[in-house]
């Protein structure tokens, strides 16, 4: 449905989007993930024909964004970060105007307006002036505007930004329920949002594509190289952490043992192995045979956030900006949980 090849956007001083390639199948929800300033909005703007690419190609439903922009525009619904509302209009007036702009008319338009009013739960503000609506309602009117002409592709730029937790959940549910009829790309810097709503993730950072995979695979990938957390404790007295560590290292299949947390009487180790499931028994036996207690053993849970940080870690040297972005990620995590 969407094909992007080597898409690049250069400005006078910087490159906002740097040779990005990906494709999206019909009916999928794809999360476009990255810290603020990663190039998400720029990429979306190129897909919606708002910005022309500096080089590379992008096509929507088989139409190139540069060669046949009108055809592309007919097939996309776009919700920019700030919902594009004419604040002096009433909701119904606004939808009427947008519908006509998108080429709808007559009974068709009336029917679609009735549909989106119901679908986005904005019937009760139908005759209200947009400027007087709350942020949540404005966002929903923005979404209604995007799906009004029943486009093949929906492009949503941070659709849940600035909403309260209840509104966030409602919006996510709404987006999920739209997935059957539309191909959806949504950008976000909130990881749980992607985990909850999307099937596929495209991670970009500083304009470059970091990873593109299904949410499922991405988590597996991180877990495959993943590790087991062990809490080992002495029955009495103090635990010889160094001895415990070397014992664990001798277990066949273990590649690395890291000391995570040390107390006089107990220590937490992170054990990395090629196949963490197969060696769990060996690890347990080793600990118990050595006369220690095994307080806890669990898979080191990997959230998308960690994957994200791992994948973008290479560029962490750049300092301030990534500190900022991980700050916003932590914030996002808090907000979502």
């Amino acid at each position: 449905m969407i094909a992007v090849q080597e898409l690049t956007k250069r400005y006078a001083r910087n490159t906002a989007v740097d040779h990005i390639s990906f494709s999206v199948e019909r009916g999928q929800i794809v999360g476009f993930l990255g810290p603020n300033g990663a190039g998400k909005t720029t990429t979306m703007r190129m897909l919606t024909c708002f910005l022309p690419p500096s080089s590379g190609k992008a096509s929507v439903a088989g139409f190139d964004v540069l060669e046949s922009p009108l055809e592309v525009k007919r097939r996309i619904g776009y919700l920019p970060e700030m919902p594009p509302l004419y604040l002096e209009m009433r909701t119904s007036e606004y939808l009427n105007f947008v519908g006509k702009l998108k080429g709808l008319g007559g009974a068709d338009l009336a029917q679609r307006i009735a549909f989106v009013l119901d679908r986005c739960a904005i019937s009760d503000v139908k005759e209200k002036v947009l400027g007087k609506l709350s942020k949540g309602y404005r966002q929903r009117v923005g979404l209604a505007q995007a799906i009004l002409h029943n486009p093949d592709v929906l492009i949503l730029d941070e659709p849940t930004a600035g909403l309260d937790p209840k509104q966030i959940n409602e919006t996510r549910d709404l987006i999920k329920s739209l997935a059957g009829d539309h191909t959806i790309i949504l950008s976000t810097h909130i990881l749980p949002e992607v985990e909850q709503t999307c099937q596929q993730v495209i991670i970009i950072n500083k304009g470059k594509l970091v990873a593109t995979d299904s949410v499922h695979n991405l988590r597996d990938r991180a877990r495959g190289a993943g590790s087991v957390l062990l809490e080992v404790a002495a029955r009495t007295g103090t635990l010889d952490a160094v001895a415990a560590k070397s014992r664990l290292e001798q277990v066949p299949g273990v590649t690395r043992v890291l000391s995570r947390d040390a107390h006089p009487d107990r220590s937490v180790f992170e054990v990395e192995a090629h196949n963490d499931r197969a060696i769990r028994g060996d690890l347990a036996r080793t600990v118990v045979n050595a006369g220690w207690d095994l307080n806890e053993m669990r898979t080191a849970a990997v959230s998308l956030e960690e994957i994200f940080l791992q994948l973008t870690a290479a560029e962490k040297a750049a300092g301030v900006e990534s500190a900022e972005s991980s700050g916003s990620l932590a914030q996002a995590q808090e907000q979502a949980s």
Partner: protein, 255 residues
């Protein structure tokens, strides 16, 4: 073409939803009424004087009422036109609705012409209000309607040009005040550019004088349909709208 009307109707709608349109119309009606009252008063005075002195002054409604009146209207336009055009694109840029227009299946040309046309129609509405006064001229006098029509055509063309320039300037900023002030400055300069011809006859002075809207309005005010001046206005309208299109396009490359 259909899209052009959709945009135009939406623009007119926003003029009339906010107090802008009513304010402009009211201001124009009051100021025009004042001018009319004064000029007619002066004209009457001359008429009375000519009777008491027993000499017949050449009294002509077209020459002595309509012509100065029309020139005054074109001055009022200078002040009101920036107020009409300043929000056209600046507001869309500020609120982000420009993204909606730019990602809808509408051509830039349709957006620009739709907006410009809405501003011209609002100006036309103002001119229509002046008819309330002119009706009395026809009722109690017998002015020739043809020069009047030509003068109003001139007003329309001149306003069309200044509105096109204002539309262009509105694409350059997201701040309405800046757009309005800059438009006023440019309109004023285009107005007075003709002054240089008073003391200078070099080539540059001729060019400046030619660019002045005042130079091209003279014949219209007299009621003479001058093709040369009409062509000037029409090409200036095209030029202004062309600049608007370029500016909108460059917005996309820069933003």
């Amino acid at each position: 073409m259909k899209n052009l009307w959709i945009i135009c109707r939406k623009e007119l709608g926003s003029y009339f939803v906010s107090p802008i349109a009513y304010l402009l119309l009211a201001m124009f009606a009051v100021v025009f009424g004042f001018f009319f009252w004064n000029i007619v008063g002066y004209f009457n005075n001359m008429g009375v004087e000519s009777m008491t002195r027993g000499e017949m002054f050449p009294l002509n409604l077209n020459e002595q009422v309509i012509r100065p009146l029309v020139s005054n209207v074109s001055v009022i336009g200078l002040f009101l036109i920036p107020l009409i055009t300043m929000r056209l694109f600046a507001e869309e840029k500020r609120t982000g609705t420009i993204e909606l227009l730019a990602t809808s299946p509408v051509r830039d040309v349709e957006v620009i012409l739709g907006k410009w046309l809405a501003s011209v129609l609002l100006y036309g509405g103002m001119l229509l209000l002046s008819a309330i006064n002119l009706v009395w001229l026809f009722k109690y006098g017998n002015p020739d309607w043809k020069p009047l029509a030509v003068a109003y055509l001139g007003l329309f063309l001149q306003a069309g040009m200044l509105l096109a320039i204002g539309t262009f300037i509105s694409t350059l900023t997201r701040n309405q005040i800046i757009a309005g002030a800059a438009t006023f400055g440019v309109c004023l300069l285009l107005w007075v550019a003709e002054w240089v011809s008073g003391y200078e006859s070099a080539g540059w002075a001729k060019v400046l004088a030619y660019l002045s809207v005042l130079t091209h309005f003279e014949s219209f005010a007299k009621g003479l349909l001058s093709l040369k001046d009409a062509v000037f206005y029409v090409s200036a309208i095209f030029f202004g709208l062309f600049l608007t299109a370029r500016s909108l396009e460059s917005l996309r490359w820069r933003s």
